[in-house]
Amino acid sequence: MINKQVTSPAEAVRDVFDGATIMVGGFGEAGSPIELIHALIDQGAKGLTIVSNNCGSGEVGLAALLNAERVAKVICSFPRTANSTVFPDLYHSGKIKLELTPQGTLAERIRAGGAGIPAFYTPAAVGTPLAEGKEARAFDGKTYIMERGLKADFALIKGRMADTHGNVVFNKTARNFAPIMAMAASVAVIQVERVVEPGSMDPETVVTPGIFISRVVEVPEPAHESQLVAAGVTYP
């Protein structure tokens, strides 16, 4: 009997260990699994490496995790944000490392990690500072750089609906990195607004098949980062 549903965000992140690599879904606030991140702050794991497109805003969600100084390093395409000083302050004080990766390379590295591809070549960043130290190679007269697949111990992502087998559908542009992070993580944890029985979803429209998901937790009314920031909320 397969049932991947767990009872709470706390239960879903119970075994995150110090030094773990965690992929965190979201592009801006869309798809950011705030409740899971807050549960991780409560849980206390530290020395984390975070793989995420952004570094959060205000002092909630991912920015709050950074602010709690639980993160040693971020792998990220765009850590700058208009309404948060958390990352800049940590970065300038040398308290956090940054591996800056072009957004498409980040996405492809995650997808490769999940697909068992250890390395691939991309034209992005050739000739730029972000290619420094990377192997360059020509194919058919054009230069590419080699990039490595990325894996993680955990993924914390957000969907709209899942069944208890872990099949997931998403909401609009909140889909973004979640399906590939689910592939690349040993333990993919997803929060969804609604958990349903297997057979409730059309198998043609499942976006992330259950094989990629380890734990499903229902968060019926997830917070929106922009609303929390506008309201001046900080966590914890």
């Binding site: 697909a115 068992g116 099949n167 297997p198 198998p203 499942v206 098949p209 094989i211």
Partner: protein
């Protein structure tokens, strides 16, 4: 499905487990909740024998997780098939996806178990199961090389010897390889045998089969277990 017998003289084909019994024996060893890919032929029989209370999810590399049994006659869809190109059904909780995503599951190590047939298994786990290397054969590999390279555990289900009595468990494969050091366990008509760092390790004998028979039918050294459990079926 009837059991194949051979008219060749000294043969091990007629002793030990039938094909169905081999499949049944293997089915006992699949953990509840496993994601499983069953190869074409004897491996397909495994699904019939999964013990009650265990839920397995079957993957077919042509784009379906949650594959169910054959449809009722006349109820099938020619576009809902398995890797053997036979019509199947989709269970509740199924998902369809394209080929690159399907092999991302395989290559990325997301499947727990793949059960395959074999021409030869070497004592270091090398597998040959896609080609006899005959000059006039049409080469065809399908997904076998991807499956053995990517799936967490590879179980082989096979007659212990060929129809002409040659061992299929060997020192080194002479047929073209499918993968290097990939097989974890062999379920033959004679025995269950693990592939270990030290070579073939006997796990269990089929009823009525003794150790010497298995040794003689095996083309490489056979390590015996410390346990006295040999000879009994679970």
């Amino acid at each position: 499905m009837t059991r194949q017998t051979s008219q060749q003289t000294p043969s091990t084909e007629t002793i030990g487990w039938t094909r169905e019994q081999m499949a049944q024996r293997l089915a006992q060893d699949i953990a509840d909740g496993s994601y499983v890919n069953l190869g074409i032929g004897i491996p397909e029989l495994v699904a019939k024998f999964v013990p009650a209370g265990r839920e397995l999810i079957y993957h077919t590399e042509n784009g379906l997780l949650g594959m169910g049994p054959s449809p009722e006659p006349g109820a099938g869809d020619p576009e809902l098939i398995n890797a053997g190109k036979r019509q199947v059904t989709a269970n509740p909780g199924a998902a369809f996806f394209h080929h690159a995503d399907s092999f991302a599951m395989i290559r990325g190590g997301h499947l727990d178990l793949c059960v395959l047939g074999a021409l030869q298994v070497a004592h270091n786990g090398d597998l040959a199961n896609w080609s006899t290397g005959a000059d006039d054969a049409i080469p065809a590999v399908g997904g076998a090389m991807d499956l053995v390279a990517g799936v967490k555990s590879i179980y082989v289900i096979t007659q212990h010897c060929t129809k002409t009595g040659e061992p299929k468990l060997v020192e080194a494969c002479t047929y073209p390889l499918t993968g290097l050091g990939v097989v974890n366990r062999v379920y033959s008509n004679l025995a269950v045998i693990d592939v270990t760092a030290n070579g073939f390790q006997l796990v269990e004998l089929a009823p009525g089969v003794d150790v010497d028979t298995v040794k003689q039918a095996t083309g490489a050294p056979l390590l015996l277990p410390a346990s006295a459990n040999i000879g009994s079926t679970k």
